[in-house]
Amino acid sequence: MENTLILSVATFIYGFSALCFIIESVFNKKQFGQLGFFLLVAGLSANFAGFVLRWIESYQMGIGRIPLSNLYESLVFFSISGALIYSVIYKKFSIPVVAAITTTLIFLAMAYAGLSPTADSAITPLIPALRSNWLTVHVITCFFGYAGFAVSFAASVLILFTSNEIKCKNLDELNYKMIIFGFLFLSLGIITGAVWADSAWGRYWSWDPKETWSLITWFVYAIILHARYMKNFKRKTIAWLSIVGFMAVLFTYFGVNFVLAGLHSYA
């Protein structure tokens, strides 16, 4: 299948992009940063092309559905959202280490999609429970949220190691912006999921592990957003909370499927 070929090419481009940003962070070479950004955009284009091609191929196979319905496809879409968000904010927040961490996460997601036996790349028909227009809105909103949190995670990690006040303030702004972006989309993701569950399973909420973990994630970020209004709350504490939040995202995304059983077993 051609889509998986293009997507593996995208994986490599992302890998080189991450490498460039790492070199930029370590050796402080600006040119590598520019090359890294160029490669990030190239990777995003290939990634998106692969996504569209996969969509077309599913029609050629007579299945005809948007590729957003299993672990492989969700990882591919996560990379698209992450690369897109970072490309958009790059001009305003070109912080090499944040770029390096974000692109590494994107690369790892794609590599995991390509290599892991649990992420099957075959295009299969949709099971009846997933045949709904809500699927598209639900997956897109959730993964935009996850991608925003991934960038905020990268900024938070750096905050912990930064003592320079101006740099720290800039990182904190990036962290906050990505968290509110992620929070809006996570909320929309949970809400669209609930509306979908109501129409498909007849209940908008059933405390399924995936649902519960998305709510836990939502609570962690809600804590961060409220903590900012409290006196004596330090940037580093917020950064730690943001890291905890991203761990919750990862557990919601992967952990629930591998550790806990539930209704939401496709991805």
């Binding site: 007579g62 009846p128 909320s187 129409s199």
Partner: protein, 467 residues
Amino acid sequence: MISVQERPLNTNKRPGIIEIAGIKLWDFFASLKLTIFLFSFIALASVAGTFLPDRIGIMKYLQDKPVFLVKVFDKMELFDIYYSWWFVLLIIVLGINLLCCSFERLPGVLKIVLKKPLPPSIHKIETFEFKKDFTINKNIDQVKELSKKFLKLKRMKTYMLDSKTNFSCAGDKGRYTRLGVYIAHLGFLFLIAGGVAGTMAGFSGVIDIPENETSSIVTLFKNRGKIDLGFDVTCAKFEIVKYENSHTPKSYQSEIIFNKEKENESNGLVKVNSPLKFSGIKFIQSGYGRVVEGKVKISVFDIMTDEKKGEYQIEQGETIVLPDGKTKFTLFSFRPNFQISGMNLGETFIGFILADNREIPVALPVSTPGFDKHRKGDFYIVPDEFKTKYYTSLQVNKDPGVYIVYSGFLLLSLGIFVSFFTRHSCFYIVVESMENNSSNVFCASNSNKNKSLNQEILSDFHEFLEK
């Protein structure tokens, strides 16, 4: 108006213990610390809930003989956390906390929201964090027109005050966006209220109806018993739609007829992802299976000679006496996929043999006629002929809180968007007329978030006037 002197003096009188307690209690419920504590606690309890087994599972595992720790956990409702009294209480306290916080802070915000900005004095401009002043080679009327244009361009509402020698104006936009956070909080309260209403006044269960049969009894989830719907539900037809050239099911659906006394008959199609509503109750296609229709023909053979000893037409639940005149056989049920020690026997009849006052369970798989020989009785039984038909499995829900929850969803999304992605910004201009057709301009910009943009707007304004 009461002047300060006329006000009753409170300072000499010490506040009573009830007043102090009242204030302390209010402060407790209106504090952000409580919010953060509740968020954390509810999140942690939810984490625990995803790892702890459910009550039915653990009791089955321990064969209804729970050990001490399990008994303690059970008392604390740890096997059903999300529906436990303390979890619900935490959520209600969170709701109260939210209300108190809002009442505490809303008046201040309303004051800003309802007050139109005043055209400032030069002195006032000096007090702002982001400000700028410059002299420009244009007369005061030109500057006035340009200022109006600029504020219009920025989509700000303008409030003016002018005289011959100077003019002052204030512009603002997005004053109401300051209410975004309250919209979000109201939405969250709706979610809590709707959730509680649904749990109190609703139910959730399942109803299985074979084709051409009627039922009105719903088996509730979580072992909560059965209830009668008060009207009849008939399954007229059940159908599985498959993908072209494939055995993978694409969808399945049931034709349903509702029949309620004194009301007209109503019918419709229940499909996967497309439920049907009748009398405030939702019917959702959740599964299907096969059941036996009518009588089952079984044959009884002698285990030594393989000779047929008898043929019977029986219904499920019916008992017959075998050819020896004393052993009894009861046909109990039909299982489409019967599993025994990890092996799937496929379509299987389950029954009981009653011999010498001992009851022995019997499995009769349709695809392996000699299977019953393993029981080593005098006879073995073989199911011969029978007909099956589909039954549809419908989830049945009543949730009177669902509309409150949906309103909550709308308010919450709107509120989050408004409170984080829109802002209230103000722009102030004071112009003094100078000699030889020039003017002194003092301006300031202020906003409740994205403060760095203020500097940009000030430069924009300067450029706009210079043009």
